[in-house]
Structures are given as structure tokens and as C-alpha cells.
């Protein structure tokens, strides 16, 4: 409300819209929709994107930056635990740490995916080297 009233246009909020909370899917626990209309009602400019695509996300941020006179929000549709086969889109992982086996499995699945995304934007491989035993 304040950001809209004061036209804070150097502000971009990002909603990690994964439809999960500890007790279950937000749609079932406490439905947030229509979410975009809620932000609009507070005088924000609303953008939506595929939050699991670095490409789509960055181009959306760049589009949002062009808008003047309003704060902006990006509703980034994501999957919680994206890239890890046994975690993806499962709210039960909200507050549960993986055990050692699961951790190794998750990293082995995740690293190639993340590399793929980072290399796409010219990041040097050594800068994001992660130690995996």
C-alpha cells in the first residue's frame, strides 16, 4: 500500500509462487487466488513468469525495470524442489532436511541442471564449483 501510494518504482517484489506451505498446498490451506488482482488492487504493476527458467525470469525483470511510476511485482511460478526428482512439488519437504543419502542424490541431480542454467549466462564454471564428497 505504501509502495503504491509513494510510487516507489525502483522496487521489484518477487513472489515465489510454488503453491506450497507447511500444511499443504496453499490452494487447499488458504487459497491466495486471484493473487495478481490483489497486488493490482494495491497499485502494483504485475508480471508473471516461469520462475524455474532463468531465461524467462531475467527477461521479465528487464521488462519490469522499464515501467515507471509504480512498484512492480513478479509472480514467479515455480516448483518447490525443482530439479530433484523425489522432492519436486512436494510440500512435505518444506521443513525436512534430507538425510545423507538423499542429500547426495539431490546434489547429483541438481548440479548438472544448475550448471546448465548458469553457463547459459556466461558464468564461469569455477565460480560456482560446489564441493561434493
Amino acid at each position: 500500500m505504501t509502495a503504491g501510494h509513494h510510487k516507489v518504482d525502483n522496487l521489484i517484489a518477487i513472489v515465489d509462487r510454488n503453491d506450497c506451505q507447511i500444511d499443504g498446498r496453499t490452494t487447499n490451506v488458504m487459497n491466495l487466488e486471484p493473487l495478481a488482482e490483489k497486488w493490482k488492487a494495491f497499485n502494483w504493476d504485475v508480471f508473471e513468469c516461469d520462475g524455474n527458467s532463468v531465461n524467462d525470469f531475467i527477461s521479465t525483470v528487464n521488462n519490469a525495470k522499464k515501467i515507471r511510476g509504480k512498484p512492480k511485482v513478479i509472480i514467479a511460478r515455480t516448483y518447490m524442489g525443482n530439479g530433484v526428482s523425489f522432492m519436486k512439488d512436494d510440500y512435505k519437504w518444506h521443513g525436512v532436511p534430507p538425510n545423507e543419502e538423499q542429500g547426495k542424490q539431490a546434489l547429483s541431480e541438481l548440479l548438472p541442471t544448475r550448471y546448465g542454467d548458469f553457463i547459459e549466462f556466461g558464468w564461469e564454471k569455477q565460480k560456482i564449483e560446489v564441493n561434493v564428497k
Partner: protein, 322 residues
Amino acid sequence: MPKYEIKEYKATRLGFGEALVELGHDNPNVVVLGGDVSGSVRTDLFMKAFPDRFFSVGIAEQDMMGTAAGLAIAGKIPFASAYGEFAAGRPFDQIRQSIAYSKIPVKICASHCGITVGQDGATHQSLEDIAIMRVLPNMTVASPCDYHQAKKMVKASVNWNHPIYIRFFRDNSPVFTDPNAKFEFGKADILIDGSDVTIIACGLQVWEAILAEEILMKDGISVRVINMHTIKPIDVETVLKAAIETGAIVTAEDHQKNGGLGSAVAEILSQNYPTIQEFVAINDTFGESGIGDELMKKYGIDKNAIVKAVHKAVNRKNKKRS
């Protein structure tokens, strides 16, 4: 005659409002946030002088604390103002997460504190704010005793690089301190020296303590009076010196007994030099609508309550020695 003279009657909140205007002229980074009560908390003075540096958030104190933290991160010096209950109680979580935990030097300035706000009644009488602010790590808590000290405290807060909560009062109250007296956070003022007992007070109870000293002197009791304007970090040295030299302490405040100035003093004494202590404070109850002075009397935080507590403390001390 009391040992200090009343020069005039002015509210501590006015000292706050006037200091903001002076700071506004001195420093272009000073900004003020208000929650729809600018005329009451006297930020209207700053708003008129610097309209583009005053931000109203409406009645949304939680939002105000987050916004103030953001302004501080962006290099501004934000003063966020509201009534005590709505400056400390309502936005407690935002203060804890975005200001105290993050060590962001926002100045939270609360007016209309204590039971003396009077007619506004229990919902607006902030009697728990010292407790819930001083329990937060990184948070400084201070309360000036009169208009001059309020002004000095607000000006000094600009260079105090910690989150801080400052407590002001609505009513016009005696102005008795020297406008040129030195002020330093964490360094208590010894207003009257004495050897039988020490009254440690903050806010409007400092003047009540001065009045009580006059009565007690006639009863043959030598009273030290300390203005503990900074409740956190408390002046440990001055508290312990008073305990060792006078052997009995009475604390006085317009706040709940649980968690306030008295508790802060007791925490120091019990860990270092256990000493007889009496508390003059609101005794675990909400207030009610009424005239400030009458409420002070009814709820036992005026000069007569202090006199009674001092007699009790001195009797306990003498009994212990005999």
C-alpha cells in the same frame, strides 16, 4: 522547596518535534515517518518544514517499521513515530526481524506513553513498551525526564548507531533540567546526592522523585535521586555505586512492574550486589480513562507512592542491620 526549580511546563513530545526540525536543517538525510498521528506526536513541525522528507504510512505501523528499515539501508536517517502502544506493541515482529535482528539504526519514537496519557484509556496507555523493547538484542531503550532532555536525546540519537526506542509523554510536564547540561546515552544523571536510600526513576517519575526527596528530607532521610534516562544499556556502575553506598533502592516508572526499569535494576543488583529494592510501577493491571495526575495517584506512581516505598525500603534496610 524542591532542589530543582520548574522553569516552565512543556511536553517531552514537543522536545521531540522541535529537535526533528533542527536535525532536518543540519542533515539532509534525516527523514520522518508517521502513522496518521503527526499532529499528536508533533512530527507535524517537521512535515511543514520538510514536506518531501516526511512519509505518512497511514494507520499501518507494521509497514512503517519495514519502510523505515529500508530507508536506513538506503542511507537515510529514519525516525518512525507513533503512540507507544502502536510503535512497540503492534509492530513488534517487524521491529524484531527488520530492525533489531538486522541491526538497522532506525529511531523508533513513541509518544503518549504511560498511564498519564489519561483520557485515551487503557487501549492507548502503553505500559509494556519498555519491557518488550528492552528484551530485544541490539535495541537501546531511553526515556527523557523533561522537554530539554527529550530534545538533546533526539539530537544525540543521530550519532547513536544502534536501533533505538525513545519514550515520550503527552502531557505538559515540569521543565527543570539545564538546557546546557551534558547528555550521553547510557550515562545516568545523579540529580540529588544522598546516603540512606536511592530513587532510580525514568520519565515523568524523575520529577515525582525530586518532590518525594523534599518530603523525605523533612523526615530525616537522605535520598539520592538518579535519572535513569537510558534503560538499556543501563548504567551498571551508577546502579551498583548507589547500592553499595546507600544500601536500599526504590525504582519509579510509568510502566508495568514486570519487565520495566525496576526489573532492569533488579537484574543488575541480584547478579552483582543483592540489595533491598522497592518498585513504584503499575502493578500488573491495565489502566483506565482519567486525568493523568489522578491516574498517577490511583495507580500508585506519584510522589506519595514513592515516599511510601522509600519508607518501606529504609525500614527493611534497618531491620536487616539490627
